[in-house]
């Protein structure tokens, strides 16, 4: 530890640890407050708190429209994550293992959605689907989400592909495996955990997304779209927040799993 102190700013002069703890408290406080609010009988967040109740959770779990929107979000997330991860895997293998014309362009396009403001992508896809006469639905949301999740899948998988020695693939092919077999039997097992991590990351990106989804949603809303639409009804708020807290527990677990999977890879 003293060694580390020697290469940074003097340990005593900048209270970094205290600053970090303060930022963490700041980050957790509003969420903790929502958590408390979801167990409070009053439908406005005001102090002093009233009585403890589980009613909002009960109401959330019996609210058909709310549950349907959560199910829709899962459906959209699964489709979007699967498309984005498959394409991201293809881009990362093509980019890291081949030299070809358009190689940089391919990677550039795959990460381009990172610099396109969501509102622009949202209205463009809205016009495209209108132009093509495609009715807006969960599928159109999933297509939009596959585009914004693609950069995440690509960058995560590209970093992992860089850590695998291409000589392993050469060896497999020297031993008579076709390239398809080499990818399936050599590359896939090596990147398996990263692949799952990328998929989970894409799923979470989609699950939480509202700015694009608002433009692409048809009659069936995803949970964030439903939530956004209901926010103007103040008395609905506690039920919505109870549901959001339940879903939050799910996404937090998935995020941690995705993080662990990636850390375990060398």
């Amino acid at each position: 530890m003293s060694e580390r102190g020697a290469i940074g700013v003097g340990r005593t002069r900048v209270p970094l640890r205290a600053g970090f703890v303060l930022i963490l408290l700041l980050l957790y406080f509003p969420i903790a407050l929502l958590f408390v609010f979801s167990f409070n009988t009053s439908s406005v967040l005001s102090f002093p708190l009233r009585e403890f109740t589980l009613d909002w959770y009960g109401a959330a779990l019996t609210d058909g429209a709310l549950l349907a929107s959560a199910r829709n979000s899962i459906l959209v997330g699964v489709v979007a994550a699967s498309i984005a991860t498959t394409l991201g895997l293809a881009v990362s293998i093509a980019f890291s293992r081949f030299r070809f014309r358009g190689r940089l362009l391919l990677l550039g396009l795959a990460v381009l959605p990172l610099i396109v403001p969501f509102i622009v992508l949202g209205v463009s896809l809205f016009l495209l689907f209108t132009f093509l006469d495609v009715p807006r639905s969960l599928l159109t949301i999933a297509v939009g989400h596959s585009i914004i999740a693609l950069p995440f899948a690509t960058l995560i998988l590209l970093a992992r592909m860089g850590g695998i020695d291409p000589a392993l693939e050469d060896a497999a092919m020297d031993l008579g495996a076709t390239y398809a077999v080499t990818l399936r039997r050599v590359v896939l097992p090596l990147i398996g955990p990263t692949l799952l991590s990328a998929w989970l990351t894409c799923f979470i990106v989609s699950f939480d997304e509202v700015a694009i989804a608002l433009f692409l949603a048809g009659r069936d809303p995803t949970f964030p779209v439903f939530l956004y639409g209901q926010l103007r009804f103040a008395q609905r708020l506690p039920v919505l927040i109870a549901m959001a807290v339940l879903l939050m527990i799910g996404t937090v677990i998935l995020t941690l799993v995705a993080f662990r999977l990636r850390q375990r890879q060398p």
Binding site: G8, L16, F118, I119, S124, M248
Partner: protein, 286 residues
């Protein structure tokens, strides 16, 4: 059986097709529609002659330009604040946390995993007239009347967005710092550089690409924001993103909205290109 070379087509073609269909085509489409002379609604079959009327409408309307400027300034403040707050956090994780760095990183990522809307709602509930802060202040006897400055203001939008983005902004800075070769710091020390000079002349320049990435990861989504200002902002926080949304919603002026969207897209892309000239972002992926 396909050789390795032949397999490339199977790898490169699907992403090319998908991106052409759902990224390039829609962006081209708003480009084309932005040249329509009529604001909307649009009958795609009807013939029309290209004109710059819609761009003129945006660029000659003072209030639209003002909203664009406000959005840019707000995004600048949010991105700069989030990056500056994230910098010491990343520094702590990369240089001081030691063995526990990954635990701390997890602690930081948990709030980021909480739904965006939920986090914005948390601030709305805290800042509102009958909200947490006002009622706590009154309960404690510090104020008699609720303060209405808290919500529906520009600062409410800025504070909320900085809050939302801090964990996210930490990641690229932390990654850049993790790649700094510790021997460079030792070499600087051997050559007589003190802690501050090592920090400013070695650590900061080497983590700059990460900081730039963090800045843009916050700036781009913020400049196009239309949801947060609707939830915690008021009339003075009407942002350019809301303008675009309203052209497509209430006003049904798709052509004008397309021109507004194209202007925003061009400005962001130009900004990113300029930034990549200044800071070598490629070092991030290397």
């Amino acid at each position: 059986m396909l050789g390795r070379r032949g397999f490339l087509r199977f790898l490169a073609l699907p992403p090319y097709v998908w991106l052409a269909a759902f990224l390039l085509a829609p962006v081209l489409l708003i480009g084309v529609i932005s040249f329509r002379p009529e604001p909307g609604p649009i009958d795609f079959g009807e013939p029309w002659t290209p004109s710059l009327v819609q761009y003129g409408r945006i660029l000659e309307t003072a209030s639209y330009l003002r909203q664009l400027a406000i959005s840019a300034v707000m995004a600048l403040i949010v991105a700069a604040s989030a990056t500056m707050l994230a910098f010491p956090v990343a520094y702590f994780l990369a240089f001081r946390a030691g063995e526990r760095a990954s635990l701390y990183l997890v602690l930081l990522l948990v709030p980021a995993a909480v739904s965006f809307l939920l986090r914005v709602m948390a601030w709305r509930l805290m800042l509102g007239q009958e909200g947490g802060i006002n009622s706590a202040l009154q309960w404690l006897g510090l104020t008699k009347e609720p303060l209405d400055l808290l919500i529906y203001s520009r600062s409410a939008v800025v504070v909320t967005l900085v809050y939302v983005w801090i964990p996210f902004a930490t990641l690229p800075i932390y990654a850049a710092m993790g790649r700094i070769d510790r021997r460079q710091l030792e070499a600087a020390a051997d050559l007589g550089a003190g802690p501050w000079s090592r920090f400013w002349r070695v650590t900061v320049p080497l983590s700059l690409p990460g900081a730039a990435a963090a800045f843009f990861m916050v700036f781009i989504p913020t400049v196009g924001e239309y949801i947060t200002p609707r939830l915690v902002g008021g009339s003075e926080t009407y942002m350019y993103g809301q303008l675009i949304q309203d052209f497509f919603g209430r006003a049904a002026s798709w052509a004008t909205g397309s021109a507004a969207a194209v202007i925003m897209l061009v400005l962001t892309v130009v900004l990113v290109l300029v930034a990549t000239r200044l800071v070598n972002l490629r070092r991030l992926t290397a």
